[in-house]
């Protein structure tokens, strides 16, 4: 009799790693894309069992209250993105954008990316987490450059250089955290283990922790896409394959933010250390306002939604920076809702770009008339991301705003202003995209089959329901994690 509970944790890592090796050797893309979905589904199911049976903290792996929800979210969106990718990628092959060899590489890299992100979330070691985030970064660099066009290579190069610098700074911060832990915990692995670090952080040298946090916030903040370190993000989203844009926006940004949160917990546990709040609030507000204004000037549809991701990561960072049970709760909810909504939008956009044969906003008009199902899925997605009630993002944004009003009314003004500016841009663009006069017919291809859109509506349904109903167990658990974050 196999003890399923004890193998679920290694499975979340072993399935992506093993299937990456298999996919790298399989020639046929039809089989590969199905296998990719199957592997992602298995990983998701294994992750689900972690909610019920939580394994004890090991030397290298840790599943606790904070990361378990991100692991489930990560594997879920990873699964739907792989299903979307299966329908999307055959079109890329037909249109000659990719060759079968590149597709093989693409599927293997997809699973390596999932492995990297799951490892980063589950690592019980600050060094291991760093390695995993670096691995995820390198894989996405390769995926962004996969079309090998002029623009794709420049985007990948920019992403690579900025990402490497960020990751370098994060490693420096990681080393300083180890040095801070050294006199208290002693040499060895314990001084890098999250579960040990968190309980002993109150005795660490506060000055070292402060210094480390600055490096870590700048380093991992680059990966979160916080202004002014965001320059790589729009290009990387616009030039890579759309399933990767969805995974980047929905998952990788969350993983990087999770890393920042973990280190924030260390600082919160140490009373003499500086409050990380003001730094995060400033960067969050800067990202929000900057991205909100930049939304008006975008002409490429994927780049447009990439800026919206910067905006939303800014909101989440702002919420965690404010701290306190309510704002942290809102931040966690916002991360989850943004992840689901933004990936569904990228699925829609992927199909739209294929149908219309362009990513230029000016050439995409009147979608609800020409492709009703696709058009309305975009309308619903954009309404959700703009924070229209009753979608879940309205709830999280409302909570951030109201908790800020209660504590720091002055900060709530720029926050509300940024939200409104972004709202305006989204609705303005959506109006043309969805309800404008349809363009000439010969430019648009046939609508994708309905089953390909299931993932989009599944995500949106979750976001919709979360807007007015969260199970009490989920709420209680969110609140518990929010208290942990300090």
């Amino acid at each position: 009799m196999i003890d399923w509970a004890s193998i679920a944790e290694p499975m979340v890592l072993a399935v992506p790693a093993g299937s990456a090796a298999i996919l790298a050797t399989l020639p046929g893309y039809r089989l590969s894309s199905k296998l990719n979905v199957l592997a992602s589904l298995t990983t998701f199911l294994a992750a689900l069992t972690l909610i019920v049976h939580r394994p004890p903290a090991g030397t290298f792996l840790l599943v606790d209250d904070l990361n378990v929800f991100l692991i489930v979210l990560n594997t879920f969106v990873g699964f739907t993105a792989s299903a979307f990718s299966a329908g999307y990628i055959s079109h890329e092959l037909e249109s000659g954008k990719l060759t079968p060899t590149y597709l093989r590489f693409y599927h293997a890299m997809y699973q390596v990316l999932m492995f990297g992100m799951n490892l980063a979330l589950m690592a019980n070691n600050i060094g291991l987490m760093w390695v995993a985030i670096e691995l995820a970064t390198l894989t996405t660099v390769l995926m962004v450059g996969i079309y090998r066009t002029h623009e794709a290579i420049e985007a990948a190069w920019k992403y690579f250089i900025l990402g490497s610098v960020g990751i370098g700074l994060a490693l420096f911060g990681t080393i300083i955290v180890y040095l801070a832990a050294l006199p208290v915990i002693g040499e060895g692995l314990d001084a890098m283990a999250w579960n040990v670090l968190t309980t002993r952080a109150s005795a660490f040298d506060p000055a070292l922790l402060n210094l480390a946090f600055v490096f870590l916030l700048l380093g991992y903040g680059t990966k979160v896409g916080l202004a002014p370190l965001h320059a790589w993000l729009p290009d990387a989203h616009a030039e890579g394959p759309t399933p990767i844009s969805a995974v980047l926006s929905g998952l990788l940004l969350n993983v990087a933010l999770y890393a920042v949160l973990r280190f924030k917990i260390l600082l919160a546990a140490n009373e003499a250390a500086l409050a990380p709040g003001p730094l995060m609030v400033t960067m969050g507000l800067a990202s929000l306002s900057f991205a909100a204004f930049m939304l008006y000037r975008r002409r490429d549809i994927k780049r447009f939604f990439a800026y919206s991701s910067i905006e939303h990561m800014g909101i989440a960072t702002f919420a965690f920076g404010m701290g306190g049970p309510l704002a942290n709760f809102a931040g966690l909810l916002h991360m989850a809702m943004h992840s689901l909504t933004k990936s569904s939008i990228f699925y829609s956009v992927g199909h739209i770009a294929q149908v219309k044969g362009t990513q230029k906003i000016s050439q995409i008009t009147g979608l609800t008339a020409t492709h009703p199902l696709l058009g309305w899925s975009l309308v619903a997605g954009v309404a959700a991301i703009a924070g229209v009630p009753p979608f879940g993002l309205f709830m999280s944004e409302f909570l951030v705003l109201s908790s800020t009003f209660a504590r720091q009314p002055l900060l709530a003004v720029p926050l509300a202003f940024g939200l409104l500016i972004a709202f305006g841009a989204l609705i303005w663009r959506l109006h043309k995209l969805a309800f404008g006069t349809p363009g000439p017919e010969e430019k648009s291809g046939p609508a994708p089959a309905g089953y390909k859109l299931v993932a989009i509506f599944a995500h949106l349904a979750l976001v919709f329901v979360a807007g007015f109903y969260l199970p009490t167990s989920l709420t209680a658990w969110f609140q518990h994690v929010a208290a942990l974050l300090g």
Partner: protein
């Protein structure tokens, strides 16, 4: 720890900072690669000395990786790339040599001002090591921002990674996982870069990042 051990460690770490400065003013591609090889050799020596002083045999592995991989294989590969792509002309700089050096000196002063007071309590040895390491990291960043050519940006990035390894080696008893991972990630990073350079070569006649920059933001 004896004072002579301190002195040698400081000597090696400061030699790495000097090598970073030498990278900043090189204006020939081949010269730049040679200096980078020297940079890696100095790093190998510094890490090996740490291994001896701390009695940490695993650090010898890190030192060996630096010596074999960074001081030998990468420079040879870069020589080939530069020759094949015919870019051994002068290295184009965004900022002049004089001002780059002045900024570099400023960065070293900054890292002393930031690091020394903070790390004082963790023992004299580590704190000075970290000052040098941060200086190398910042100089690597400076190099990446002041060069236009893709190959010299890569060298800037690798000198930055050398600074990180110096910091990791100086942290007493830091588990092996980090050293290996750093070395390993450099390896991966290099493969990535190699792939990129060849792709760029396939499509364009230049690896000048500015030539790639025609596409900036989105235009119509």
């Amino acid at each position: 720890m004896h004072s002579i051990q301190f002195d040698i460690a400081h000597l090696l770490a400061s030699a790495l900072v000097l090598a970073s400065f030498m990278l900043l003013y090189q204006d020939r591609m081949f010269g730049l690669i040679q200096v980078f090889a020297g940079h890696a050799v100095v790093l190998a020596l510094a890490v090996a000395w740490q291994a001896y002083v701390q009695d940490a045999p695993h650090l010898y592995v890190t030192a060996a990786i630096a010596l074999v991989f960074k001081a030998t294989i990468i420079p040879v590969a870069l020589f080939r790339i530069v020759r094949r792509l015919e870019i051994h002309r002068n290295v184009e700089k965004v900022v002049g040599v004089g001002s780059t050096m002045l900024i570099g000196i400023g960065l070293v002063a900054l890292s002393i001002a930031v690091m020394l007071p903070v790390t004082h309590r963790s023992g004299a040895y580590t704190s000075e090591d970290l000052v040098f390491a941060l200086a190398v990291v910042l100089l690597g960043l400076l190099m990446m921002t002041t060069r236009r050519n893709a190959v010299s940006q890569v060298i800037g990035f690798m000198s930055l990674e050398n600074g990180l390894i110096l910091a990791a080696a100086g942290a007493k008893g830091m588990p092996l996982v980090v050293e290996i991972s750093v070395a390993f990630s450099v390896l991966i990073a290099f493969i990535v870069i190699g792939v990129f350079l060849f792709r760029i070569r396939e499509r364009f006649d230049s690896v000048d990042v500015q030539a790639l920059d025609r596409f900036r933001g989105d235009r119509g």
